[in-house]
């Protein structure tokens, strides 16, 4: 054992540079897992904290199941009479804006969970409210009795941004015009102060009800229970209250809201986990690199040790214990780096969520131990194959000059199995994309099989790649390129792993590009139809029903059509009520301003529109159609004010409003079934030849001030949408680029190892007249070839993966997306692969060019 430790430390000491290089792998891997772990935890915590703090000590909350049936005094009374309920806090919520703010509201776009916000007012009971939530007053005072005072409390940060002081009067837009409220206090942006990102204020309950015509109506009841029960008892109370209040309301836990939001993050989480997987993979293979090299180098030493009686097991143990030492040091270092790295990552995710995560950055003990453990295990796994090879060294090897690693079965004929594996797994995935949970693991395994297939394909084909790329290499690097790229076939396992790391990064870029392109294409065609009008009119207060007709009378306006979005519920074919948006249109004017995109282009549009106009019929979105397997002629059940009502499906249209959970009906049905005559939006078509800006000015002049209209042109909205889309996808782009960067470390490491291994050879080449510049080209060409293979294989792999993801997404969500491979993405991924391979090779190449000739050819 003593001897073991001694030998281990010696051999680590002997190659400090290599030790550091291979440790770097584990270090980055561990740092990656930990940083992601910390950030994930922090973002989850921040989200749930946001909801927990903002809901304070509230045990349960009661909300209406749909917009059109708000909670009533009756609900409060029933709730108050339940024994377990101690306090009921009624809340009225209103979205509004300040009168002096130029652009209130705007198009309410929610794309991948990002929305453009507004100002949120809560009407609360000033006496009861402090029982439930801790408002931290930083200036002025909290609301006081009476319940109808014209007072408001704002969030400090928001007030500062808007330059509002305590004592000021602010003008708030209401359906009845402008209401003036006095700012009596400011609260800190913590706890409930985080609601709506601080664009939030509280007013007395009755004031809110009066201002927004909501007398006797409530949006939410927060409940404090008599004693803080166990979670099991709490669930019983929740069910009891739910039974008492009936189906019209839902009784939930406050944190339940946070869960919805965290779903939005899960997309990113999958990406981030993918990234830490790559970091680990690279880490494992850097270790493999280092040890494979040590073993070849020390063949004589191992042979000698075997000659003097060391068993195979002892040799294997010796190599493994070396790995263990490296693993412990490297992982330890990784933990430090991970903690630092988490800060940067938190900044990135934080900006995505619009919150500051740095306060939540605590190092979770479990994750810390896990990452350490994983680091050490991965190190040992990486060193396992080399250590077994070391154990196989025969005593006679001591007599030979140099050990030569033999080409294994895998490098020779693995590619056949690789291609087979790739084909089989791709076929399986395309045939059945395993969208749902029980099959998810199976699906992941199949994706893993794909990776395995690609990995196996590489070693057997590198020499073919080398031959094919000769003209290119000669063109770029001259003859040095021919000599250098020949080296690719030498350390096949190492080269293969490097290429695989690179190709994963390239594939990620391509997947992101294909997804973006496929999404955009559908989205753009929908947007073009959706905002087929030239001007979009919106107000932060409800518009009167005849507004559209009035707007139609303005000079320059060709046609105007009213639209209303009503949040409702429908009966899913599987059973159960699910939320949905009912878009009420006036078919006659609607078609004069814009048009529907019918999924089936052969449909009789005229007949469908006539059916919609007659009432009792709907256009459903393609998303709903696919998700529930519905089509024209089927029945669709909606919960209305008159109970469940069935509509016939007149057409399937492309519409991604509310993530596609939308149906289109006519305004008569809105009035009839939902007793609403409101307008959310007016779409305007401008007369031919009249500049849109002029028409906007006209409308603004006539109605703008009076009705607090905000007008946006088609172009502005399209611009906004594409910005939102870019934001959503840029995060994935960032992840893909990070993956490529991590893989570039693999290239650096592999080339460094190659160069160290070939010192004598490089010395010989320099001696017989190779210039430093030629040595550099030689190394660059080897890296370049890795880039070419990684780039091209990654390209194919990426296209396959993207196809699979798209198929899977269609199955899961009902989005029917055309598969588009953008040329730009193809070029980007190839260029990135080549450029990264060259950048990563610069340092190794320079090191090679500085090889000391005499030291290299020195032998004794």
């Amino acid at each position: 054992m003593r001897l073991l430790i001694k030998l281990t430390l010696r051999s680590i000491q002997r190659h400090p540079a290599r030790t550091i290089l291979s440790m770097l792998g584990i270090t980055i891997g561990v740092a990656g897992i930990l940083a992601l772990g910390i950030t994930n935890q922090a973002s989850m915590q921040s989200i749930s904290a946001l909801f927990e703090e903002s809901s304070g000590k509230v045990d349960l909350m009661v909300t209406a199941s749909s917009d059109n049936q708000p909670l009533s005094e009756g609900t409060i009374r029933v709730t108050e009479n339940i024994a377990a309920v101690r306090v009921v806090l009624p809340i009225v919520k209103a979205n509004t804006a300040f009168a002096d703010q130029a652009s209130g509201g705007g198009l309410e776009l929610s794309f991948l969970g990002m929305d453009s916000g507004g100002f949120l007012l809560h009407g609360v009971n000033p006496v009861l409210e402090p029982l439930a939530r801790d408002y931290k007053i930083v200036e002025g005072r909290f609301l006081e009795d009476p319940l109808e005072a014209l007072e408001v409390v704002l969030v400090e940060s928001y007030a500062q941004d808007e330059d509002i002081q305590v004592g000021d009067r602010v003008e708030v837009l209401t359906p009845n015009g402008v209401e003036r409220l006095r700012v009596v206090g400011l609260i800190a942006r913590e706890g409930p102060g985080q609601i709506n990102n601080g664009a939030f204020g509280i007013v007395p309950l009755n004031t809110a009800q009066r201002m927004f015509n909501r007398l006797g109506e409530y949006d939410q009841l927060d409940l404090l229970l008599t004693e803080s029960n166990s979670s099991q008892a709490l669930e019983e109370v929740r069910l009891a209250i739910q039974r008492r209040l009936g189906e019209a309301v839902s009784v939930t836990y406050p944190a339940g809201q946070g869960q919805r939001m965290s779903q939005m993050l899960s997309n990113y989480q999958i990406g981030l986990n993918f990234l830490s997987g790559i970091a680990l993979f690279v880490g494992a293979f850097l270790i493999y690199n280092a040890f494979a090299m040590t073993v070849v180098e020390r063949t004589r030493e191992f042979g000698m040790l075997r000659t003097i009686g060391m068993t195979r097991r002892q040799i294997i143990l010796q190599v493994i214990s070396e790995a263990l030492v490296l693993g412990i040091f490297g992982s330890g270092l990784g933990v430090l780096m991970g903690i630092l790295g988490a800060r940067g990552l938190a900044g990135l995710v934080g900006s995505l969520l619009g919150t500051d995560l740095s306060a939540d950055l605590v190092v979770p003990g479990g994750t810390l131990l896990l990452s350490l453990f994983v680091g050490i295990i991965v190190t040992i796994i990486g060193a396992l194959m080399p250590s077994i090879q070391a154990g196989q060294v025969s005593p006679i090897a001591a007599l030979r000059v140099r050990g030569r690693s033999q080409e294994g079965w895998i490098t020779r004929s693995g590619w056949k199995f690789g291609i087979a594996g790739l084909l089989v797994s791709t076929a399986i995935l395309l045939w059945n994309p395993f969208p749902y949970d029980p099959q998810f693991i199976l699906g992941s395994l199949t994706v893993f099989l794909m990776f395995g297939g690609v990995t196996l394909m590489i070693p057997g084909t590198v020499s073919t790649w080398e031959k094919l790329s000769r003209p290119l290499m000669r063109l770029i690097f001259r003859n040095s390129g021919l000599i250098g790229s020949r080296n690719i076939g030498r350390s096949k396992v190492r080269t293969t792993l490097t290429i695989v790391a690179l190709l994963i990064g390239v594939a990620m870029i391509l997947v992101v590009r294909v997804m973006t392109a496929s999404f955009s294409q559908d989205l753009v065609s929908w947007i073009n139809a959706y905002i087929g009008g030239d001007i979009y009119i919106h107000s932060s207060v409800p518009l009167r029903a005849d507004m559209a007709n009035q707007v139609a009378g303005i000079t320059g306006v060709g046609a105007a059509t009213p639209i209303h979005y009503q949040n409702i519920e429908f009966m899913a074919p599987g059973g159960g009520l699910e939320p949905l948006t009912f878009m009420a249109v006036d078919p006659a004017t609607y078609t004069r301003v814009t048009s529907f995109i019918f999924s089936d282009s052969n449909i009789n549009a005229q007949a469908a529109l006539a059916e919609l106009n007659d009432g009792g019929a709907l256009f459903i979105s393609s998303v709903i159609a696919e998700k529930y397997n519905l089509g024209v002629g089927d029945r669709f059940w909606i919960r209305t004010n008159q109970g469940l009502q069935d509509f016939s499906i007149a057409a399937v249209v492309v519409d991604f409003f509310n993530q596609g959970l939308v149906v289109t009906g006519n305004r008569h049905d809105l009035r009839r079934f939902f007793r609403s005559n409101e307008i959310s939006t007016i779409l305007v078509k401008v007369d031919a030849g009249v500049p849109t800006a002029d028409v906007i000015a006209n409308i603004e002049q006539v109605y703008g001030k009076r009705y607090h209209l905000s007008l946006e042109s088609n172009e502005t909205i399209r611009g906004n949408i594409s910005v939102l889309m870019d934001q959503a996808f840029s995060m994935f782009d960032v992840m893909a680029v990070l993956a490529v960067l991590i893989s570039s470390l693999g290239i650096v490491n592999t080339l460094m190892m190659n160069i160290m291994e070939r010192t004598q050879e490089i010395g010989m080449l320099r001696a017989i007249g190779m210039t430093r510049g030629q040595v550099i080209k030689m190394v660059l060409s080897e890296a370049g070839l890795m880039g070419v293979i990684g780039g091209l294989v990654g390209l194919v792999f990426g296209v396959l993966l993207a196809k699979i993801f798209l198929t899977g997404m269609t199955a899961m969500s009902g989005y029917r997306l055309d598969f588009i491979v953008p040329l730009g993405g193809v070029i980007t991924s190839l260029v990135v692969a080549l450029v990264i391979s060259q950048l990563a090779a610069i340092q190794p190449a320079r090191k090679a060019s500085r090889t000391n000739i005499l030291e290299a050819i020195h032998y004794e």
Binding site: L482, R486, G489, R490, Q760, L765, I768, M770, T771, L854
Partner: protein
């Protein structure tokens, strides 16, 4: 006429407080077509001298002139080009690129010089003939024996028709019989191609193939043997052994 001319060569190494005088004033002249062997005890400075003559290292004092060009006046890049075009090297180990075939290894200097190997095919063929590796030209180094590898190295060193061929212990790693093959190959290159050759060796049987044997000791020339008239190899070996005994090598 002298192809190579080294005057007053010194090479000192500083090891902490100690100064090692690896070469301590060597004058050396080699005529075109000559075949010179350098002998001497281990550590006497043979390799150091060869490295200086080949422009692989820079002298502490003194200078080397190859075909009229002083090494001290050549910047690093020019020195590299001189090595590439005017000097051939054969080392004891690490002579070949394992990724290239025997023939491609012989073409290596042409490749490095940016030339097209096809243009020089007849010369390459001639050299493959000379070293007797016609049936081995497509073999990779690891499919060749040590002697065959050295033969490829010699052909490689000859392909550019260098002004001088330098070999450091080319037979050091070979058995006696193979060593003989290598040395007679060098001998033939000298006789048939007029190649100027300097060989460092500690083996009197190898040195006997040369026309002149220079003995080094402590970084200085100690003795010189000239074999112009003496053709008999064993007689030459006897003479070399005599000097070695005298020098207590």
């Amino acid at each position: 006429m002298a192809v190579l001319n080294a005057t007053n060569l010194h090479k000192f190494y500083q090891l902490g407080e100690f100064q090692i005088k690896a070469l301590n004033g060597v004058d050396f002249e080699v005529e075109a077509g000559a075949f010179v062997a350098i002998m001497g005890p281990s550590g006497s400075g043979k390799s150091t001298l060869l490295h200086l003559l080949g422009g692989l290292d820079v002298a502490t004092d003194g200078d080397v002139m190859l075909t009229g060009q002083a090494f001290s006046e050549l910047p690093d890049h020019q020195m590299t080009l001189t090595r590439r075009r005017n000097i051939g090297f054969v080392f004891q180990f690490f002579n070949l690129l394992p990724t290239l075939t025997a023939e491609e290894n012989i073409q290596l200097p042409i490749l490095i010089d940016g030339g097209k190997p096809e243009v020089f095919q007849s010369r390459v063929d001639q050299l493959i003939d000379l070293v007797g590796l016609n049936d081995r030209r497509d073999h990779k180094p690891d499919q060749l024996s040590g002697g065959e590898q050295q033969r490829v190295a010699i052909a490689r060193a000859l392909v550019t028709q260098p002004a001088i061929l330098l070999a450091d212990e080319p037979t050091g790693n070979l058995d006696t019989k193979t060593g003989k093959v290598i040395m007679s190959l060098l001998r033939r290159s000298c006789d048939e191609l007029g190649q100027t050759i300097i060989v460092v060796t500690h083996d009197p049987r190898a040195a006997a193939y040369a026309d002149r044997v220079v003995f080094l000791r402590d970084g200085k020339e100690q003795e010189t043997l000239k074999f112009k008239e003496l053709k008999d190899l064993s007689e030459r070996i006897r003479k070399i052994m005599g000097i070695m005994e005298k020098m207590e090598i």
